[in-house]
Amino acid sequence: MMLEAISYTLIQTSFGQFIYNQNLAFLAPELVISLTLLMTFALSLAKTQVDQAKSWGIALLGSVVALVSIVMHYQLFYTGQASASQSVMFGMFEADLLSVVARFILTLGFILILHLSKRYVETRLPSQTGEFYTLLLTAFLGALLLCGANDMIMAFVALETLGISSYILTGYLRNNLKSTEASLKYLVYGGCSSAVLLFGLALIYGLAGGSTSFAVLPQALSQASDLGAWASLAIVMILAGIGFKVSAAPFHTWTPDVYEGSPTPITAFLSVISKLAAFVFAIRLLTPFAGVGNENVALLIGLLAVFSMIVGNVAALKQTNIKRLLGYSTIAHAGYMLVGLAALTQNSLGALLFYLATYVFMNTGAFASAMIGDELLASEDISAYSGLIKAKPWFVFAFSIFLLGLAGIPITAGFFAKFFLFQSVVLSDLGNLGVIIIALLASTVSLYYYLNIIKVMVIGEPSEQVQRLIGEGKDSTWNLSKTLTLATVICLIFTLGLGIFGQNGLLISESAMSDHGATVTQNLR
């Protein structure tokens, strides 16, 4: 009663009117995250390390509140109180079901990555804890905004917020040469790709008749029947920019070095959060092309997909460093996802979103396992994992599930995600059977390097480090980070659970896509 009275009074003010008219309430997660990052930044100025360590708790609290607000927003859709889509802040942000579902997955992934970071930051970067979480939250804010950005300027600013914070976080291990190298490489490649993307967006802006909104794209593109060289130039440039962000070949060259050099939680962040946000951005930007000149767009995306699958899988075969291997595996996965993007139908995009959701948990789990492995064995070499089952059977079990999921073996979510994705592409008009065959062959090749790690862990002779672990036995003073274990268990539950309840997950992501599709066709009319 009291609350209602207060909100009623607030709404009467002009600022309240503004908030109400522009649907600012739907930006609640972003506002919460902004506030959180300012708080962690304030804490980073604290003198003592104990105060700084609290910033982890604040970051976690902020993301959980953001998650709750997203769930509340979803509730509105579920009960039918929200219409198909709500445009926020003069159409800069589209609060449709797609943005809600994508942000939900994103926030879950981010909470997992916070759990991954805790021990790592405490032990390796004790003096810069506050700033670490501030930058991580800034990058996350960019990713959240990218999920709903419905305007070129908004999308570009969000993309840069995500990008620039990532460049800094990549070079966070300042005494480590590899980390510095990774940061510099990422900065230079990222800056170039952003410039190319911006050039493409500027051309689209001209083609669309001086509007930066994605909403007018379908109309503008359908009017200009003969788009000519300009449109191809714009599309090539945009695809190059997106290809870099999702680390698709031939724009992948930064990936292995950056993944190997950066702090492991940041590697997980790049491979999960950045990729998910970039794909949602690609979906928003490219769906309008589904009606016009889609053969060429589909062909180009298909080419990117084929390149990525081949390069990622073949190069992963000879990797000995676990982080580098996972880096090449992300390139391969970007290829599978691009197969879904190339078809540009509602079903294939729905399946793509489901694939992204499962990928978040499988890949975060794999990186969490790599971190546990690093703590156990003090090595990132795959040969160090040899015979680990004799010392840590449960760890080997969890890691194997994640690897089987990434390989796409049944029961795990990875299988169903791949199955739904390829099925939807085969059924679509533009379904190119050749691409599907390459995708299936590539998945088969990927079995080799995923199963090889399991083979090494299970039947390999115990390595030096593992023998030391066995020798220590129960007397080991080593204690596993609780948050890291929790994150691994959650990833495990989702990797198996999304496999069992896959159909429901697919339904949600498909309805998100149909909601998005409805908005696009509505704009077309």
């Binding site: 600013v157 917020t161 669309a208 008749g209 300009w230």
Partner: protein, 223 residues
């Protein structure tokens, strides 16, 4: 006529200066030619009635960025660039893809006809009449206020990161630099911890003898 003459003058200057950036024997000359390039591009913007863009170009690129670059060069030393021959295969791929991109841009420019895009043409006409600064200002604080605010967070993050990556980490609680008067002269002494933090390679050896003069200290600090 006047405009096209100006355009050709600035085009020649821009291309000449751009070649200078690439071909100059020292980094300093490259940076100075880059200023010329930026200013001639600002002139292009002015010729196209983009007054705001021209001002921003001069302020941000022509002055701000190049000054920072020059400072960087002054601090790191103007070392002559070494010739580094790339691998032939890479060189081939790079040249083929850049020629292809140039061809794509060139054909699109040749095929461009503003009449195909009536809405854009309308915009351009309007901006010709009222200038762009007012329009940009109004849009920035009404329609584009959300990206504008997000950009401020982006800049905050970038600033934190820049400070973080460039600042020296101090783990020692003791004062790093102490001064004492010896033989009537001020003598600075660096503590061992401080030297280690700053990253002297020979931290152990160097602590034996403190730097004798301020010149030497300055030289070591400029790492």
């Amino acid at each position: 006529m006047f405009e096209s003459t100006l355009f050709w003058i600035f085009a020649t200057v821009a291309i000449g200066a751009a070649l200078g950036v690439v071909l100059a024997p020292s980094v300093l000359y490259s940076a100075l030619s880059l200023i010329v390039v930026f200013f001639s591009i600002a002139a292009f913007f002015l010729l196209n009635n983009a007054d705001f863009l021209a001002t921003a170009q001069v302020l941000v690129y022509g002055v701000g960025l190049t000054i920072v670059m020059l400072f960087g060069i002054m601090f790191t030393g103007d070392t002559p660039l070494k010739e580094k021959a790339g691998k032939l295969g890479r060189l081939l791929i790079a040249s083929i893809s850049s020629v292809a991109l140039f061809a794509l841009i060139f054909t699109s420019v040749l095929g461009f006809n503003i009449k195909q895009f009536p809405a854009s043409a309308q915009w351009i006409r309007e901006l010709h009449e009222q200038g762009s600064t007012l329009a940009i200002g109004q849009l920035l604080f009404s329609k584009y206020v959300l990206p504008f605010e997000v950009a401020s967070i982006l800049l905050l993050g970038a600033m934190i990161g820049a400070i973080l990556l460039s600042k020296k980490t101090f783990t020692s609680q003791e004062p790093g630099l102490t001064f004492s008067i010896q033989e009537g002269r001020l003598k600075p002494t660096l503590s061992a911890e401080w030297r280690k933090d700053v990253g002297f390679v020979d931290a152990e050896v160097a602590t034996e003898e403190a730097p004798s003069s301020t010149e030497e200290l300055k030289k070591e600090c400029s790492l």
